[in-house]
Symmetry: C2
Subunit: 460 residues, 2 copies
Amino acid sequence: MLRTPVAEALGAASAASEIRIGGWVRTRRDAKGFSFLELNDGSCLGNIQCIVDEGTAAWDKLEGVNTGACVAVTGELVESPGKGQKWEVRAKDMTVFGLADPETFPLQKKRHSDEFLRTIAHLRSRTNKYGAAFRIRAEAAHAVHDFFYQNGFYYVHTPILTGSDCEGAGEMFRVTTLPLNTPVKPGENPYAQDFFGKECSLTVSGQLEAEALALGLGKVYTFGPTFRAENSNTPRHAAEFWMIEPEVAFTDINDNMDLAESLTCFVINRVLERRADDMDLFDRFVDKGLVDRLKGMVAQPFARCSYREAIDILKASGKNFEYPAKFGLDLQTEHERFLAEEHFKRPVAVYDYPKEIKAFYMRQNDDRETVAAMDVLVPRIGELIGGSQREERLDVLESRIREMNQDPANYWWYLDLRRFGSVPHSGFGMGFERLVMMLTGISNIRDALPFPRTPGSLEF
Amino acid sequence: MLRTPVAEALGAASAASEIRIGGWVRTRRDAKGFSFLELNDGSCLGNIQCIVDEGTAAWDKLEGVNTGACVAVTGELVESPGKGQKWEVRAKDMTVFGLADPETFPLQKKRHSDEFLRTIAHLRSRTNKYGAAFRIRAEAAHAVHDFFYQNGFYYVHTPILTGSDCEGAGEMFRVTTLPLNTPVKPGENPYAQDFFGKECSLTVSGQLEAEALALGLGKVYTFGPTFRAENSNTPRHAAEFWMIEPEVAFTDINDNMDLAESLTCFVINRVLERRADDMDLFDRFVDKGLVDRLKGMVAQPFARCSYREAIDILKASGKNFEYPAKFGLDLQTEHERFLAEEHFKRPVAVYDYPKEIKAFYMRQNDDRETVAAMDVLVPRIGELIGGSQREERLDVLESRIREMNQDPANYWWYLDLRRFGSVPHSGFGMGFERLVMMLTGISNIRDALPFPRTPGSLEF
């Protein structure tokens, strides 16, 4: 007999004489002549209550069935007289798959700290909070794919292993098959014997390759893992994280900001609509006001202001920032949050940054001082999205590469895109964990993905 | 004025007085008083024909506009008198974004070899074949996500960076931030100074972590990159490839085969339905009979046979195989293809393999000789999917780990899944590039993904 997911059973249109539910026992309560088992199977936040009456075949199998045990109950789906649930299961028989010794099972019925749960990341998806977080994460990921699919984008897989160190910001991990103590001889390529015959790293961005594909397929996006070997232990940084990077031919910086806004709103709406129960948990127990804040974000257009205006706003704010707000310096998280949370009170796209603080591939504006970069800043998070119109002019791009004291020859294929059928195009990167944090109110990136990788931390 | 994708223009319901098309010139033909430009923008296989008449503003901008140039044409969408297309554009004005010097642009209007196109992978999405391949790839990826979403699975991201070398088959890449010539001192942990304080590798499978999540969320799947540092230069192996790995609680090996079959058929149907034009290209020019073969695959249930039966079939075949077919030996590609192509003439799921040739985590059958493993073999490809029911019994799993002369303590969290609320569960891995090869008839994995990584090859 097929198992009915709890989500389906709880939403049933009518009673059923025969149903089979599989799940993990969240609580067991015994009374005279019967027992209550609350079963959760991960299909949704809610548990289904199963009543096991004395005298049934199920009753005879109750021994040792406690919090954490995995069972399948067969019985009747009936209207529940209790409040808070519409349906419950009147058990006839039960299969006990696996018990969980109360002496050693770490997830007893009580609140556990996030720190503790990180040490048992292999079990934390069995808690309400992390089950909800990972369901919301999955919903958001699907929304991302649907958004781009509906808008005529092609999903592309750009390489994770890269031989170029020219992807811009970020320390990179090296990838090798050579032993650790491989001698380096002067004048020889030390990587000659390595798998690829040259130095190989983990990508920090699929942008450059996505540009190549956008200039053939028109509209593309990547959604894959990226890596930073930065030794920073903050609640916002992980060594491995997932990033969404659309790249679109025939678009400029304004189209790019439109796209960023549409994508963000689409995902918020989808998650609010389809994971209301899980969102309610975060709204009540993790970040009060979360749902209203998200609804507010999609209720009106995002603000837009130039970097220059942003600096003026920050200067005039009277706020005592830790870092100075000054033209030519990058915005810090405190600045970004002030702009989104206090000044605009909604997401804001800041554009036209000084070229000195931005990457070489961003399109130079006519003022020769700024580039057509844009960041989307959101309340609580700061930077959610960073993007730009790309420099499509061969001569300007080559000058920028030389200004970095690099050899344009190393960028031969990237420059080819400007040599042959060049076109204005733009794109951005959205950190998927940052998006999940924004959607859930989770404040530490380690809790926004199932098995976080941070300096010194590689368990599971 | 907004750009209309060529796919949309070609499928227009009615003429339009004003339309703007952006794209790359595939061909230009000049006649007296007018020119034809065939524009492709990657949105579909088809080009749209633009007629530029003498005397228009567009005419004055034609100089240097040749194959490979990128332009935007504005004009009228009118019914085409020519055959083969319903609509064409009568150009009024044109913007020339980027030219392509015929002396140096490598994609002239002629057939290029796959080998040559691999050397210009940054441009090959501008060809008919690779544009089609990458659109089909994107369609297949979206179909995978839709299939699982519709069936109540949650998409999870398992880690790419891993500290365990226990994931089973396959040479692994090491990931490090230490310099190449780091001295190794006896008795010291050489990785103490490394980013994670221990040895780190690139994952060969997300299965073990997916199992942990399935035992909380019920039904999950991964879809991400995996890596093999195997120095094999074959048309079927890449160092970096994408894999789909569902993992489902409360299921056995038969459910697992059902799932593999449903997924495969769903993707085939979706791609045939939604990318008919691109599939037609492969059917005509790459692999004649492809579409009929795929339709045949979904028209009847996949065959199923035990490994033991498969060996008997191979022995009785009278075929002169290069490798022997004998109980206890793994099936080779030649065997797999014989079974699918010649014997069953359709996909076949082979199950219950000898335990010696399969991984430790596969569930031991009652015969103590075989495990509940299954492979789905398909014509032309051989193994498309490999999976198993997982060993859910703590004592059996621990014995298997000891049989490998390994310490169960290294598997503490994986064994925890059997200690606390264990349950029968199963899953499989489907190589996404193999799927793309099956869908398109592409015979070399290097051509089934945009920027392939193979031994010695790390360009782009």
